[in-house]
């Protein structure tokens, strides 16, 4: 099948059996790949009510048709599962080179099922697939394990590995790859850990079949030309996502001290240009990317290196914790990566704990003696390690802020900044209704990557609630995640503003199938409804209350900064949802109606 690896590898960890099946043509036609395959498998194969950390849950790893190809951004693979963090849908998109290697090994999806009796790693070398003993690797940090595999097997192998975080089933444990890329959110690393899979090591030497090689070469080269000539190329490639730190600070979107404000007095030393000048050594990129956003850094103070920090980590582990020193943020980033926990959820959870301490809800007895003040760098480092090991306060924080605040009570739930149990990522939304709605309705929880709408808020009026704003959020939600479906990165379109129609002839030349972006957005809309139905299936009381944002954003105006005194209201929150549900074809409680399911052709899938 042109553009595809051709096979799905099924790994039954309980029995130790590995089987391959051909990727069905109609699956590729209707769900395309990546995240599309993920939700299809999740609905069909993980039974309702499965324990995310139990034997019935599965981990679906999928590449897409542009993965491994001469297409800018062809370097992403999707990791889909039932989320330990939220009990709902999890999908994490991992960059680097792993997805390309899947295609070269002839694989579109790898499915991990069951639970292994002993720690293992999955070894793939073209058609040779084996489970191998990982007992001497269990307990080790991710960087050391990746290095060990690279030295033993060679640099052509691509490695995905969990750290102690995943082994210890931290709710937001991640999976690491290429010394700096992650399948980050929702606890995908904990699912891998629950299955006792330490790593996947993969190598392939097959060529990917292509429908029309010459047209593909020309179309691919045209995409590279467009990226290189983009007006924004230099700025974007110099700073990556850190380019928005200063701007977010100016407009009150930089999460500060547990999202109590959106402007941070220390933002200058967290900015993109400051960071580049002081710690960046290499622009490190994912597969086939002409605009590498990875900033590989050296922290002299700590004698260490890390890929990062990028904007999210600067926000959540920097300003959100009252830390202004970029080297310390980079070190926090490294600790999280090496131990295998998501920097966003970890930074958010630590910020919550710091506010508990500030308010006297925690005393030093609760913090294992740590003086958990905002700005205490050493306490942050200690707490990251405790979270990964689930020790002391770390055990509570490892459950995520929704569960932790429920256990602690005393009003701490009011400032647990999450939606659906996923910690909010790097944008403070006291007064930015489109971005707030984006967080409220994102299909994995409070994550920004589906619909990034802050600039739009500023452009048209941040407090406005209009059908146009909602329409914009919906369009972004149908469109942006399609990059996850085709196996690539959205940031060339997002940051360089290249003409997205340039992808169309390239994809057609690869797969032999003509798809416009309108066609892809229709697939996006279908997937959006399927993930919504998944949440509803798994949670009895799922509905509007699950879409509500943290109370902070409708009760607690910042006392400082660009959004001082500004706040949304609960009435506005519900009005946003009213308009959103209507435009989506959902009920007043936020569930896809029978008519919508029918009109999107989804009846068979959700039967």
């Amino acid at each position: 099948m042109n553009g595809y690896g051709g096979k799905i590898l099924r790994v039954n960890l309980s029995t130790g059996t590995l089987t391959k099946e051909s990727t069905p043509a109609d699956l590729a036609r209707d769900f395309i790949g990546g995240r599309g395959f993920g939700i299809y498998f999740l609905l069909k194969e993980v039974p309702k009510g499965a324990d995310p950390l139990g034997p019935e849950n599965k981990l679906f790893i999928s590449s897409g048709p542009i993965s491994g190809m001469l297409i800018p951004g062809g370097g992403k693979c999707d990791w889909t599962t039932k989320a330990p963090l939220t009990g709902g849908y999890a999908s994490a998109s991992m960059g680097g080179h792993f997805t390309a290697e899947m295609k070269y090994a002839g694989l579109d999806s790898i499915i991990l099922e069951g639970i292994s009796p002993k720690p293992v790693y999955l070894f793939i070398d073209n058609d040779k697939v084996e489970l191998r003993d990982a007992s001497d690797l269990w307990g080790k940090n991710t960087f050391a394990v990746e290095k060990q595999f690279k030295q033993k097997l060679g640099e052509e192998y691509q490695i995905a590995v969990i750290g102690p975080g995943g082994e210890n089933l931290v709710s937001y444990a991640c999976i690491n790859h290429d010394y700096g890329r992650q399948a980050g959110r929702g606890g995908v690393g904990a699912v891998m850990g629950s299955k006792k899979v330490k790593a996947i090591v993969i190598h392939g030497t097959k060529s990917v079949p292509v429908a029309d090689v010459e047209t593909y070469r020309k179309a691919g080269q045209a995409l590279y030309k467009a990226c290189k000539e983009a007006e924004a190329w230099k700025q974007w490639t110099s700073y990556g996502t850190t380019q928005v730190v200063s701007w977010c600070d100016e407009v009150g979107a930089l999460p500060t001290r547990n999202f109590s404000a959106g402007t941070f007095e220390g933002a200058k030393t967290l900015s993109g240009p400051y960071m580049r000048e002081h710690i960046v050594i290499t622009d490190k990129g994912c597969f086939a990317c002409p605009s590498p956003c990875g900033k590989y850094s050296r922290m002299k103070k700590y004698n260490s290196n890390v890929e990062g920090p990028e904007y999210e980590t600067i926000g959540l582990c920097g300003s959100n914790l009252g830390i202004a020193d970029i080297e310390s943020v980079a070190q926090a980033n490294l600790l999280c990566d090496d131990l295998g926990i998501d920097t966003i959820s970890a930074g958010n959870a630590i910020g919550w704990a710091m506010e508990c301490y500030q308010k006297g809800i925690f005393t030093k007895k609760d913090t294992d003696g740590l003086d958990l003040k905002f700005g205490n760098v050493d306490a942050v480092f200690t707490l990251i390690k405790k979270i990964a090991r689930r020790e002391g306060l770390g055990a509570l924080l490892s459950e995520g802020v929704k569960r932790a605040s429920k256990k602690v009570g005393k009003g701490s739930e009011k400032f647990a900044i999450h939606v659906k149990g996923m910690e909010q990522s790097g944008y403070a939304t006291h007064n930015a209704t489109a971005m707030l709605l984006a967080y409220m309705t994102c299909d994995v929880g409070a994550h920004h990557n589906r619909a990034w709408a802050i600039t739009y808020d500023i452009q048209v009026g941040r407090e406005l609630v209009t059908p146009e704003k909602v329409k914009r959020v919906i369009w972004l939600q149908n469109f942006r995640p399609m990059f996850d479906v085709i196996g690539g990165c959205r940031l060339q379109w997002v940051e360089l503003d290249i003409d997205r129609d340039l992808y169309v002839p390239a994809m057609e030349a690869i797969t032999g199938i003509h798809r416009t972006w309108e066609d892809l957005e229709k697939v996006g809309e279908r997937i959006w409804n399927l993930t919504r139905l998944y949440w509803a299936r798994e949670n009895e009381d799922f509905g509007r209350t699950w879409d509500l944002p943290a109370p902070r954003f409708y009760e607690d105006p910042p006392k400082t900064g660009a959004t001082k005194g500004q706040i949304t209201s609960l009435e506005t929150v519900n009005k946003l949802l009213d308009i959103y549900y209507e435009q989506r074809g959902w009920s007043l409680d936020g569930l896809p109606t029978a008519a919508t399911i029918e009109s999107l052709g989804l009846k068979a899938v959700v039967a």
């Binding site: 070269y104 052509e156 030497t205 010459e214 691919g220 080269q221 030309k225 050594i281 290499t282 290196n305």
Partner: protein, 135 residues
């Protein structure tokens, strides 16, 4: 003319190697490419890239005269003439002479097509006159 590289600009993306395999073999398979990217991570955290300098040492030892020069003077492998003897491989000072029998029944090398330069986002690669001093 020859290919040059500034490794400090390399991001490790491998677009060059995909473009190269498409040129040499009309296949999408960066393992069948003629440049080498060596990652050095986690420390010091840089990539080093090896490219063909068009020195001609490979051609000098080829017993079947399979390595020829085109109109621009660039050395390339005539796939039909190669017998996989591998005499060329150790001669290459940059390690960019390739024989992998499981991937192709011929040796292969850079033919100076320039597609890698076209797709390199960071402009780490360029083609220019050969200079007297070897890089």
């Amino acid at each position: 003319m020859r290919l040059y590289v500034d490794s400090t600009k390399c991001s490790g993306c491998n677009a060059c190697r995909v473009a190269c395999s498409l040129n040499l073999f009309s296949e999408n398979n960066p393992k069948k490419s003629a440049l080498v990217i060596e990652p050095h991570f986690p420390s010091p955290g840089v990539y080093t890239v090896k490219v063909c300098t068009q020195c001609g040492d490979c051609a000098a030892v080829c017993p079947t005269e399979a390595i020829k020069q085109d109109e621009q003077g660039a050395y390339y492998v005539d796939f039909a003439e190669c017998n996989l003897c591998e005499a060329c491989v150790p001669e290459c000072p940059e390690g960019v002479m390739f024989v992998r029998a499981e991937l192709a029944n011929t040796a292969w090398k850079c033919d100076l097509c320039g597609d890698c330069v076209t797709v390199c986002g960071t402009s780490a690669l360029w083609i220019a006159e050969k200079e007297p001093v070897a890089v």
